[in-house]
């Protein structure tokens, strides 16, 4: 192949140059798309939330609102529905600053306790325990878990469970006690409720069916 080239298809320099161009072009395209995506997934502000401006990742104060997950006819998939009615956690509305601090602690705790090596978050992680993307909306927290932990609200039940999961087994496969403090548990609830408000393009699909079945006394209501 050295010397006189029979064809461009057997020319090393042709393929080298093509490889460089294609790689460069793909990289530039990725960087350009990254700028667009980063702008779309930055966390929203409290002001945007109050004005009803939809963000893919709403402000931390979204935890003061009622969050639902409903089928959107136009998009053909399920999407989070935020508010308008309020539903503050632990009966107290959080200021923008307080909510941000709680979310920070919750995210930090989720990492330092290594949740992701058993659970999936936004579908990524281990496959040993349920996906946490919409865990805040899971029907198990409506009646079953509050009854088991002897708490009145689902957020209180979540805190009790997260602090002592070994005391409240639901299946043979149990969550271990990770030494989560009350403060950390409350922050985790904020983290989970916030995550349930993220627009995940309809993942997990069918989760709203789970919620509805519970409300209508189906499989999950037992």
């Amino acid at each position: 192949m050295a010397g006189k080239k029979a064809s461009v298809w057997t020319s090393i320099s042709f393929w080298r140059r093509s490889a460089a161009w294609v790689t460069g072009f793909a990289t530039i395209l990725l960087i350009w798309l990254t700028f667009d995506t980063i702008a779309q997934i930055r966390m929203g502000t409290d002001q945007e939330l109050k004005e009803g401006i939809k963000r893919r990742i709403p402000a931390p104060t979204v935890v003061n609102y009622k969050i639902d997950y409903k089928y959107d006819e136009k998009r053909g998939l399920e999407a989070p529905v935020i508010g308008p009615e309020k539903q503050p956690l632990f009966g107290k509305e959080l200021s923008a600053k307080e909510a941000a601090a709680m979310l920070h602690l919750g995210k930090l705790t989720s990492q330092s306790k290594n949740c992701m090596d058993c659970h999936t978050l936004l579908g990524n992680g281990g496959y040993y325990a349920p996906d946490l993307t919409k865990a805040w909306l899971d029907p198990m927290w409506e009646k079953t878990m509050p009854a088991m932990t002897g708490k009145k609200t689902k957020e209180e039940a979540m805190v009790a469970f997260l602090m002592h999961p070994d005391k409240y087994p639901t299946h043979a496969r149990m969550m271990p006690n990770l030494g989560i403090t009350e403060k950390e548990a409350k922050a985790l609830v904020v983290f989970l409720k916030h995550m349930s408000s993220i627009d995940t393009n309809g993942y997990p699909r069918g989760f709203s069916k789970t919620i509805k079945e519970f409300q209508t006394g189906g499989t999950y209501a037992k």
């Binding site: 395209l29 990492q111 090596d117 579908g123 996906d131 496969r173 271990p176 006690n177 403090t181 789970t210």
Partner: protein, 479 residues
Amino acid sequence: MLNKTAHLSPSKQLAMNYFRVAIVLFGAQLLFGLVIGLQYLFPGFLYEIVDFSVARMIHINALVVWMLYAMIGSVYLMLPDETGIEKPVGMGLGKLAFWVLTAAVAVVVVVFLFIQVGPGKESSIWFINEGREYLEAPRWADIGIVVVVLIFYANVFFTYMKGQKTGIMTVMVANLLAVAGLYLAGMFFTDNISMDQYWWWWVIHLWVEATWEVFVGTLAAYALLRVIGAKREIVEMWLWIEVLMLFGSGILGLGHHYFWIGTPEYWWEIGALFSSLEPVPLVAMFVHVLYDWGKEQGEHEAEGKGSSIKNGPTMAWVTTNAFGNFLGAGIWGFFHTLPQVNIYTHGSQFTAAHGHLAFFGAYATILIGMMYLGIQDSYGLKRLKATFKSKMAIFLITFGVLGMAVALTIAGYEQVLVERAELGAGWQAFFTAQNLPWYIQAQVWREIMGVVTFVGFVYLVWDLLTIGKVEAAAEAEEA
């Protein structure tokens, strides 16, 4: 795999050190894999002692680290051959970096195993574990890894600049810079889980579905030159074509991880299109290996010279790589890469099936092949023939991993239909699917196949420790 290395280039001696640690970590990966496989069947096993999260963290981190070790080892192995420089630049520093890295890895493993988790504070992320799948290594270790990799890279780069600049080394030097640079994308904390995962995938995906694949292309090219005496012009031309196709599909194929993490919908189309193209270069790589092998063998036979293969085990593993990469990364990846399918399969045992077969087929295979090449050099052998143990190793490991992947695929199929499609996900839906007899049966088979893999691993270690001596004696007898 031991001693007899005194006559070797310091670069190759260093390579053997990296291979030794790699194989130990490979063993750790398999052992902890068996633990978590068993926990699926007996949830009480090591509960609150070595929980699933802890064992899995070690399972996947041992995987990543042994592969990085074997990759660094492979580069040090080929460095003198490709650059023509017997004593590459900075070998003293390179040796120091090896020991520093190994000490750091040992500390991280001890912390993972005995401290496990920390309180929700920044210090936990700095000193215990970062809690991001695959990148669990605490921040101090991240920084240490970057320093060590920079030393390694400087050695490779300056040796390259001094020596002959082959196509293989040019791709290697450029690609390694990308591998190292991408790691930085995973070294920051954010409260925004979507932003977190956006950059996390830059490391994970752009490693295993782009830069690591190109790395494998360069290793295969080097192995073909060494093992069957393939023509450099052909091998290097193919390498550039592979780079073109791997980066052309793999870089934007990143989009298939951006379907459901809060990122915009346009990633559906971009991710689907480019990740669907990802298997194409893998087919090309497979064709290339078999084409060159057939060509060289044909020429050998025409001249009445018998087998063209100078290293049996390496050739066997490289061929397994060529097919395994296509099957595990290509086919098993394509199974669930379209968003229309992935909305149901995302985060299920399907992913685990693909993960097992892809990491094995694309990476473990060729890196083991490089280890055998290192042994051939260590003992200065003209030809390294496969022993019974080499054959048992490759057969059992390949059969075991394939079996695990099939079992996990069946588990995933069942999980997706019942948990996702039928019951609509959620806590109860998850456990309903996990407790169905067919699912459990699949997990039993996964564990059995895991044991088969482990037996194969024992044969592999046994072979690596003895094959050099055996073959050296045989060669001496012939002479």
